[in-house]
Structures are given as structure tokens and as C-alpha cells.
Amino acid sequence: MSDTPRFVQFVVRRPILRTAIILAIFAVLAIFHLEVNLSRLGDAASNLVVIAGEAWPPDFSILTKRASWAYPPCELQTDWMCSPAVLGMTQTLEIAFLATIFGMAISLPLAVAAATNLSPPLLAQVVRQVLAALRVLPSLIWALIFVILVGIGPLAGVLAMTMYTVGYLGKLQYEALEGVSREPLEVARAMGLPRWQVARFFAIPEAANSLISQMLFMFEYNVRHGSVVGLVGAGGIGWYMQYYLEPFKLYDRVLALIIVMYLVVIVIDQISLRVRSQFIEEHEQIRRPKWRGAFVPWAESSDD
């Protein structure tokens, strides 16, 4: 080491600095490989000024004026109920709700099959690979696929979000099921119960708090991503944004839609957070999990 330059010795002895230098080299190589032109950032700033000028003030007529071009058509008499914001947000919530319900119904049996403490190892591995394959594609790509398969509209959105929900929720669920205490399952096995009864009456109730919490989290996630899938024609508020963006470039209406979506998402997140907090184990007096409590929180009664 005596012949090695002092700078090299200095770097070699410091693992964090060493790692940082290696990462920096890879980052510079990636920038050159992608031919990233940093001078374009200057164009972006000037474009942003133009768009901001056109978007401000936001045009909240999207909350009052009837969208005669809505798809599916709105038959209601009241104009605001057929406005782009109300129709778009309602569709987004409906897509998220249906995708969560259908996703949950499909993912729970798959999660049981994927849990190594409930299923034979070979079956568990096969189902895990299926769930991983569903997660490979983001919901936007699933939406593109279903728009091609079933045409534009909310059906494509529901199917796309359901596929992603199954993959994502299934993974969370099998991890929760694998984390349950071993002893109740052994009691069931000693009784000679078949695997499905072990899962149905012992494992799922034992993991119910986690499962309910995950389902609510998934609904939140689907509301946020339900707006994205609309950009490729799969229904929801994203579809109305896309309508204003291309070809009309009505940025003031797009900004108003974004504000409406932001407010709705915040309200949904807060409600979901409050409901989920009842199912997260922070103290011994945690409530007994009831599935109806996830939908109607005020119907929950104390166990005492």
C-alpha cells in the first residue's frame, strides 16, 4: 500500500465515499448513454411560464356546466351533476371501489394458495409467480391493454385496476397470512381439518386486522391511480383531463380538475386513515376485526 497514492488510500478506507463515487460514475455514464440534453431544462422553464399563464386562474365551470360529450352519456337533468368534474370524480371513485372489491375477492384465495404455511410449497411458488407477473405491468399499461381489448370507457379502467390490485394486494396478503401465529394453525391441523378450513377459520380471522387495513390502503391507492388510467381512455377524471389537454389545450380547466381531484383524494385519505387506525395493533384494546367496519365505521361496536 505504501506505493499507492494518498488520495486512493483515502477513498479506499471510506466505504461511503467509495460507494458514492461508484454511483456517480454510473449516473454520468447513464446520462451520456441516454443522450440527456440538459440545455432543454431552459426550454422547460419558459414552457412552464406559458402554461402557468394559460392555466391561471383555474376555470371552475367544470363543476357547473353540463358535459354533453361525456362518456357514458349523462341522463340526469341537473347540470352540475353532469359536469366534467362530478362525472369524472364519480367514475374514478367507482372504478377504484369496484377494482378494490373484485381485486380483494380474487386476491384473497390466491394469497391463501401463495402462503407457504397454508399451501404445498410447489403451489405456493407457482401462485407467487403469477402474482409477481401481474405486478410487472403498472396499472397504466394494463389500462392500455384493456382499452385495446374492450374499447375506451370505465370497463377498461375497472379491469386494469383489478389486475394490478390482485398482484399488489395478493403479495401483501400472503405476507400477512404467513405472519400469523403458528399455534392456531397447528390446532386446526391436529383436528384433521382440510387446508381450506384452516385458512378460512383460523388464518384469515387471525390476520383480519392486517387484511382490512391493506384493503383500505389499496382503495386509497386505486383512487389516486384511477385518475391516471383515464389518460389512456380507461374512464375516470383522467379521461376528462385528456379531453381538455388534446386538442383544446384548455389548461385552466385541467388545473381546476386537478384541484378537485386533489381535494377529493385528501378527504378519502383522511377517512381511510381514520378507519385503518382502528385495525392497526397499537394497543391491547384493539377492536375485534369486523369487515362491515371497513365500510361503515360508525357501525362498529365495542367488544367490552
Binding site: 401465529s181 399455534e183 392456531p184 386446526a188 383436528m191 384433521g192 377492536r287 375485534r288 367488544d303
Partner: protein, 243 residues
């Protein structure tokens, strides 16, 4: 008492694959209505023995026969287990946990739609009353004391009405009075349902007072409790329960 043993273990090696066996040359027979105690220091293989008899661990060699047949044959509902930490479904009610004992007797329709029969509900109600928890039927088990949770596990075994009940340290660190109550309930199961009970207890004195036979695990063998140890145990009447 029937002469036919419920459980027969013959020349069995008990332990885990790829590891040296915990117990060798195990020979044991248990008959209906008999309570057999197993004692031994921690880590010697008491729980593994119970799990082997429950069919959860395969013996490395030898035979474990239930009513003369290998454990690989269906024993649906015939073997009950009360593990060390009781194996109750947390955050579910006392009623739910006790009713689980009736699952082996339910048909497909009742299981799928969670529709227990009138007989199952009645058996659950009786078992909950027998263990003195009728006012706690709708209470979550995680809100109960350790002694009450043990009673729930025993009520579940009463509803199941197994031919062989395996209890792993189910008396735990209970105070003498509560332990007496639990022992009384186990005696009731053995006497009234003619259930054979194999119970692991870390307390040899207590085990000798309520078990028909006490065996100890020592040096990888299962051997009867020595004379001196038995006499010492029988001089202590406080754990006799309702014998």
C-alpha cells in the same frame, strides 16, 4: 376401562430431519380415560413429542399409531391439541373460539356459509357454561386473563370431544387455585368423555397429583417417574383437584 390403546408409540425416534434425534426408543401406550403426564427439563423434546403425536411432525423411525392405524390415515376430529400458548384465534370472541371445536363435525355447507347447526351451538353454549365463562361469550379472547384463556381452550376441546387430547404445558405458570380449576376440567373430560389425555407439565409434583401415570424424558429416553419422586409428589395434596 377398554384394553385397546388409543395411542401406541412403538420404538420411535423423535426429532427433526438432518438433526440428531431428541428421543430414541420411545414406547408408549395410552388408553381411553387415562391421563398421562410427561415431565422433563426445557428443550428435551416434550413439545416435539406432542407435535409428533398430533401428526404435525413425522417420527424419524418407528410407529405412531392412533387406534391401531398410522397417523397418515384420517383422524378428523379424533385428536385435540392445546398448545403451550393455547392456539386461540386472537381478536375473535370466546364463542367463536369454542365453536371451532365443532368444525370437524360440520358438513361442507355449514362450513362454507358459516352456519353451525343447532347441536353445535348448543354444545358450544354448554362448554362455555362448564368452564364458567357464560358472561364472556361475546368478549374477545385477547381481553381475558391467562386462566380464562386456558378455560376457553379447554372448552374448545370439550366441544370437539376428541378421543385423544394433547395438552402442552396448559397449566403454565398458573397460581395453585386456577391450576386446580383447570385440572378439574381436564379430569371431567377424561371421566365423562372417556378422552385419553397426554399432558406435558414442567412441574413433576403437580403432574403426579392428577395424572394416572407420569413419565419423564431424560437422556433421550422416556422412563417412568422414580419411586422416590412419586412418594415426594403424593405427600403434597394441594393439587389433587376433584380426584
Amino acid at each position: 376401562m377398554s384394553l385397546e390403546p388409543i395411542l401406541s408409540i412403538r420404538s420411535a425416534e423423535i426429532g427433526f430431519k438432518d438433526l440428531s434425534p431428541l428421543l430414541e426408543g420411545v414406547n408408549l401406550e395410552i388408553r381411553p380415560g387415562e391421563i398421562v403426564g410427561i415431565i422433563g427439563r426445557s428443550g428435551i423434546g416434550k413439545t416435539t413429542l406432542i407435535r409428533t403425536v398430533a401428526g404435525l411432525v413425522r417420527p424419524l423411525s418407528g410407529e405412531v399409531l392412533f387406534s391401531g392405524a398410522d397417523l397418515s390415515h384420517s383422524t378428523r376430529g379424533s385428536i385435540g391439541l392445546i398448545p403451550q400458548r393455547l392456539g386461540l384465534v386472537q381478536h375473535q370472541t370466546v364463542g367463536y373460539n369454542v365453536l371451532m371445536g365443532a368444525l370437524p363435525n360440520s358438513n361442507w355447507f355449514q362450513s362454507v356459509f358459516s352456519l353451525p347447526s343447532v347441536e353445535m351451538r348448543e354444545a358450544t353454549r354448554k362448554a362455555v357454561s362448564a368452564v364458567g365463562l357464560e358472561d364472556k361469550t361475546l368478549t374477545s379472547v385477547n381481553l381475558l386473563s391467562g386462566g380464562q384463556q386456558r378455560r376457553v381452550a379447554i372448552a374448545r376441546a370439550m366441544v370437539q370431544n376428541p378421543r385423544l387430547l394433547l395438552a402442552d404445558e396448559c397449566l403454565g405458570e398458573l397460581d395453585a387455585e386456577t391450576a386446580l380449576e383447570i385440572i378439574g376440567l381436564l379430569r371431567t373430560i377424561a371421566n365423562e368423555q372417556r378422552t385419553a389425555i397426554l399432558i406435558v407439565d414442567h412441574n413433576p409434583v403437580r403432574a403426579r397429583t392428577f395424572c394416572d401415570r407420569v413419565l419423564q424424558l431424560r437422556s433421550r429416553k422416556i422412563i417412568p417417574l422414580s419411586e422416590g419422586e412419586q412418594e415426594e409428589a403424593s405427600s403434597l395434596p394441594q393439587y389433587r383437584g376433584d380426584e
